[in-house]
Symmetry: C2
């Protein structure tokens, strides 16, 4: 990646269009030019029709009044969201060329706010573990992570300012961290999921890939129907609990260094930093996640499993078979244990504004067949709390390594404020 | 309705097919004959292709081994579930003739278990309040209730032994009660929702219409991947809390009589019957429901609202406009209040096995334009608990009036056991 390349974000593009400093067509043109230059290497797009994108942009430019806060701004959409005017292939040959009848709710809401749907981004097969073709913009020999790999790589490579992803385990935060951008998974249930392909319904969460926090907050506000008003500054230094988690042994030296460095820097900057240890009950979440994910995945894939099993990847077939073998009682126990941990966690925050946790095990691993370990992201997805990664550090190979911040359920606003405070002080 | 007409249920049909006493073709033929006789009056079916149904049945009869516990059994599907081989019109002209690419998860699971998908049943527009054409089998001048009106009326009229519905407010239990059948809404999240049209995602629950509890348990077991083993008998008389709720003033005399009679009969039969009063906090659930339902509905309908507003019913336009006007903070407050009530309710059950509550305001009202008041069902849908109605009583016009039984979250099995105990003792 050309590290010196830069491009305006979503909020800046919206302002420039509103103030007549640029047009939607020019913004889309700039994205298309970047894609033309880089797509052969990055392979972030499952579908991109420049004419269709430009036609949307021109319609925005010709409108008498702005449609909304994203008027004219290009957005990328993970290819498991239904789109009425573009194929929705979900990373699977089963859906090659498939055109849904309607936009997913999130896509329709973005359009209503004026966004230009630039194209569909590469996803792992059905947002699972079998990766698509995308490479890491920082090193094409390395994975960008998954499953929202085209969204993360496209945003990181300046092909599009923001993109939608989904996270069931670690599918928004991990690729964001591997690609060196912001990945924001709001609290469970925040963005309407109508029209997305479910993986595990009790965990699937729509999230955002962006290059700055202002853009994440802007799209968040649009998708929830709020009038965008930026991120409220914290009244003072936050209280931050460092939570290495019981998975700490999985952290590579670069992740250990990132968390320790962030903890030191934030403490010196005035944050009330202490340590938070998760109760032993949380260790069972790893097994509970497998039971819940596989059980629910097997049901969500019932049609494809019945009618087109041989065109599922071996990895997906294994997950479905595993899920069909999970006894219902085990599934219910896993749900109950997880719900207990959610309530425990509510109480653990105390006066703290956020927890600082590892975002990933380390740098993006070499190769494209394995999209990395979701353990450090999935723990918090299970707990339904809002979580964000910001690209604060680098590893021994110069690849990005993010940190993760997590807030209590319902504290999405506070999480964004804390992330802004932290990123201003703790940054590569 | 010919009150003397009878037809085997799902479990009995499955047994008869398995034992060679009948065939799937004969079972489907019997359904088709009943439909041919009665459909002009009842209008329960949005799509029915006798040849397609019979072809499925013959394929079941020709199979060397049974596909599963529902081998050859006809099932009706509310027309908001995607079906790959039948239109999915959702009660809206917007989707006239629409054919999805895949079956909804629940439909695929039923097929995998051997079911014959008989056809699609009439739904209120997008499972909302604008009703379809269905009449009440007990009196064609009266509503069957909604929104799962074709499913409830079709099962009540012996056109099909069981059918899928969905409940966001009262869409499974109310039409079941109005039509005099069993309506079972399991705990939130029990049946996989992939491939249904969402109304309000945090409330939408797939449920079942049946004429007996064994059938409801059988289909429940299939959809959750359990080996069907019937309903466990209670070890002794249950503890039942009579919960008239703060909505008691809405109960017509026939509902008051049904609850009081059931309470007396059950007490005399040995149940430990006492009274349960919901804390005052629950009174706010009525307003919270409006905020949650309308806010989420507006997002789920974003595509149709953007592209086809004039073909939405006035009622749906009103709901979406209302939902777009709900401030995000109000929506979050409504969610938080509802979650508080869920936790409060967990504690309120104490040693009781179930609550006895009004199922409906009274008999099905005259006319087809208004599908009745969902208040008595929606209260429990909000609380995510399993709920069931059984057809125990009749009103002054001879129309069915059910009672409702509700169990704590996670106690779906116990609820079915209690319902069986109650229905054996408390019955018209």
């Amino acid at each position: 990646m050309n590290r010196r390349f830069d491009a305006p974000g979503a909020a800046e593009t919206a302002r420039a269009i509103a103030e007549g400093r640029t047009t939607s067509e020019a913004a889309v043109d700039a994205c298309l030019a970047r894609i033309a230059e880089r797509e052969e290497t990055v392979r972030a797009w499952a579908f991109l029709d420049p004419d269709l994108a430009l036609a949307q942009a021109r319609a925005r430019d010709e409108a008498a009044t702005p449609a909304g806060p994203l008027h004219g701004v290009p957005v990328g959409i993970k290819d498991i969201f239904d789109t009425a005017d573009m194929p929705t292939e979900m990373g699977s040959p089963i859906y090659a060329g498939y055109r849904p009848a309607a936009d997913a709710a999130a896509v329709a809401i973005l359009r209503e706010a004026g966004a230009v749907i630039l194209g569909k981004t590469v996803t792992a097969e059905f947002a699972g573990t079998h990766p698509g073709s995308t490479t890491n913009p920082h090193d094409p020999a390395r994975t960008p992570g998954g499953s929202s790999q085209g969204s993360a790589a496209g945003v990181a490579d300046f092909m599009v300012p923001v993109a939608l992803g989904t996270q069931t385990g670690g599918s928004v935060l991990r690729p964001s961290s591997y690609c060196g951008i912001v990945g924001f998974k709001p609290g469970f249930g925040t963005f309407n999921r109508a029209g997305i392909k479910f993986a595990a319904e009790s965990l699937d969460t729509i999230g955002l890939h962006a290059r700055n926090l202002e853009d994440a907050a802007l799209v968040r506000d649009v998708l929830t129907g709020r009038t965008p008003d930026g991120i409220a500054p914290l009244p003072g230094p936050p209280g931050i609990g460092v939570c290495r988690t019981h998975l700490w042994h999985l952290a590579e030296p670069e992740t250990v260094a990132a968390v320790e460095d962030a903890s030191d820097v934030l403490g010196r900057a005035g944050a009330a930093v202490d340590e938070v240890t998760l109760p032993a009950a949380f260790e069972a979440l790893t097994d509970a996640r497998r039971a819940i994910n596989d059980y629910e995945r097997a049901r969500a894939m019932a049609h494809e499993w019945r009618t087109d099993r041989e065109r599922l990847s071996p990895a997906m077939r294994k997950t479905v078979a595993s899920g069909l073998a999970v006894p219902y009682a085990d599934y219910r126990r896993a749900l109950a244990l997880t719900e207990d941990c959610r309530r425990l966690l509510d109480g653990l925050f105390g006066d703290r504004d956020a927890l600082l946790a590892p975002a990933v095990d380390g740098e993006a691993p070499p190769g494209l067949d394995y999209a990395g370990d979701p353990a450090f992201q999935a723990l918090w997805t299970m707990l339904h709390v809002p979580a964000i990664t910001i690209p604060t550090h680098r590893g021994p190979n110069g690849m990005p390594v993010g940190i993760q911040l997590v807030a209590r359920r319902g504290a999405d606003d506070r999480l964004l404020s804390v992330a802004e405070w932290v990123w201003a002080r703790c940054c590569i």
